[in-house]
Amino acid sequence: MIELLFLGALQDAEVGRILQKYEAARPKDSEMSIFRLDWARSWKEAKERAAGEKRPILLLTVQNEHGGLYGGHC
């Protein structure tokens, strides 16, 4: 019984350690401010929102074989 309790405590500690490691590795909101910008997910959405909300569009274009500016792999 003591061995089971000890094993349970070890497992809890290990789960806690990995969760803490994940929290430390996950970027803080302040490091991802680019995602506070009001992105549209398509050209169509951008045009519709701009016309409806009477706002300009900032269009970033990249010539690439793969990836996208939005996620960061480009």
């Binding site: 349970g8 497992q11 809890d12 290990e14 789960v15 990995i18 969760l19 490691k21 994940y22 590795a25 996950r26 970027p27 909101d29 490091e31 991802m32 995602f35 506070r36 910008l37 009001d38 992105w39 398509s42 050209w43 169509k44 951008a46 045009k47 701009a50 016309a51 909300e53 009477k54 706002r55 300009p56 569009i57 900032l58 269009l59 970033l60 274009t61 990249v62 010539q63 690439n64 074989e65 793969h66 990836g67 939005y70 996620g71 960061g72 792999h73 480009c74």
Partner: protein, 251 residues
Amino acid sequence: MRDPGDEEIRKLWDNTGVVPNRERRTNIYVFILDSQARFVHGFGGFPDGAINPSGHSSSQAAKYFRGEIEKGLRKLTVPDVQAPPSLRLPDVESGARVFVRTRGIGDRRGAPIVVEAVSMKSEEWDVLAHPSAQASVDAKKLSPWLRQIYPPGFNEHLYPWERIEGTLSLAPAGEKEGIRWAILRGEADLSTSEGSGRSMKVSVEAVLRYSTGEGKRPSMRAVVEGKYPRDDEFRGEILLPVQSAVESRPR
């Protein structure tokens, strides 16, 4: 962008005079359009007409972008700024969100953080169903999110990893108040034949949480770490620390 608007966007490149001839061209151009999507102002992606980011710090690039955006806005009447939107990260209905941080390149803070959201089908979660005893997991089955763990901005590595190899262990890690836990851990080899080919060995540690009534699909919080090999013009081959946090979505 890959939608029917590509033709309209191509016209901005071809007809506004923003994009120079091929010899002096970079691959990033920015356009400011009015509310009817008409051209107002445009500029290249790097300061001083540069065709790549070398020679300019992040703060210089930010100052440049701000200046060019202000030039465009002076030609427009814009509504008062609303409160900035809350953070909206890339997301999927069902899958995983992968954060990738690379150290040792660019400014002291490293390369820009990558945030990729990958969809996963139910059957792709089955491999992480709660184990009754320690079990092996083929790393290949985790490829939807493992393949995204590579640095951004390297011309020799544009696509996700092609091959994922290795065997990890998935072991029960207790139960408390109706919640069951498991730990996934081990190493995997990620490789690609793109360019001259490269590979990176990573360590994976993840906690999986299984709530009753939610079927086999767990919540997952993982950390993946490795060293990415790169040829540096002056230093030869260098190893760049790469760290990724992975979280299941929607929970």
